[in-house]
Symmetry: C2
């Protein structure tokens, strides 16, 4: 087999969820594209990897020292939504319903994976609250043990600071079926019931 093809397939097969067969299919797909299109592809990835940085306020991905969300004067700078990762920011932004700022922890506390509180941007969060006049912190972490632990740790860290701390509601997701919901979810859903 051609070494050039082999190397391209090997590299493509390193992507998550891409096996050797798919990698070959992708390589042959790229071969059918115009050279300029492939250059646009590799340049976009290379530029992303080397030029992207983290917003110095919220730790979200950013092209500039401060990200577009943090530097948007129309957003509500008194509310910060704390999330685990960049993907979560995109999910919440996609709802179009949240107008506050974010804080990306860059992970959650996980003794199993060796992630300690000091590995996360929790100190940066505490600094921001003290400095930027933040009035409400919304914890939007996953409903795992690690997520709950991290939420608990952060709420303890913020004790005594003049902020309201809330957590996003737990309940039955839209389209989920009650008989498939686990007990913890059901307990939360019952406990957080709303009067209609």
């Amino acid at each position: 087999m051609s070494k050039l093809l082999e190397r391209a397939v090997d590299e493509l097969a390193k992507l998550p969820g891409v096996g050797d067969r798919t990698a070959l299919r992708l390589a042959l797909h790229l071969l059918r594209q115009q050279p300029e299109q492939v250059t646009a592809f590799t340049t976009a990835i290379q530029d992303f990897r080397t030029r992207i940085r983290y917003c110095e306020r919220c730790n979200n991905l950013s092209d500039e020292p401060v990200c577009p969300i943090c530097s948007d004067p129309t957003r509500d700078g008194s509310t910060v939504c704390v999330v685990e990762q960049v993907k979560d920011v995109l999910s919440i932004e996609n709802t179009g319903q949240y107008r506050g700022l974010y804080h990306v922890l860059g992970g959650i506390i996980s003794p199993m994976q060796g992630i300690a509180p000091s590995d996360l941007k929790i100190d940066l969060l505490v600094e921001r609250i003290a400095r930027d006049g933040i009035k409400e912190v919304i914890l939007a972490l996953n409903t795992s043990i690690e997520g709950e632990t991290t939420s608990y740790y952060i709420s303890r860290k913020l004790e005594g600071l003049p902020v309201t701390i809330s957590a996003i509601a737990r309940g039955i997701g839209f389209g989920d079926e009650i008989d498939y919901a686990d007990e913890i979810t059901l307990v939360h859903a019952l406990h957080n019931r709303r009067t209609l």
Copy 2:
């Protein structure tokens, strides 16, 4: 959203079978890799696209003017297996059972897709047979109408040349179930039955 991330996601989402969500996952995966690893990834793809060429004898992908298979003196130069595309060469090579050479047509005759015989490397095949002392041509094209048409066209083109023309056997695939096989396959399988 960061423009750098957006551009990387847009480019990754152009890959076949990759939607926006997967593209984002891939982009964030690449972000977690060392910059040198991402450079190895983009360089391999870029080099493949710009430096790969087609073997001037068999039209297979090649790093050199003549591919490793065509230039391997231990292979049987009197037999040529005609396939539609590069992938088919790799599939047959993976069996480790074929020691002849290949000829990659680069497609099959398809009026629907506007692919005429002149778009394929059929003339190159005829030249090779006349020049290189080829004694047997094995047609290994897909069992579609287009594949059958192309096989027929090639066998007509080779009429009068001193070569044996054969086609790979049609039958029930290993692991396939007879009651799921279509009629044409079953007819072929019965017709090509072997005495045990």
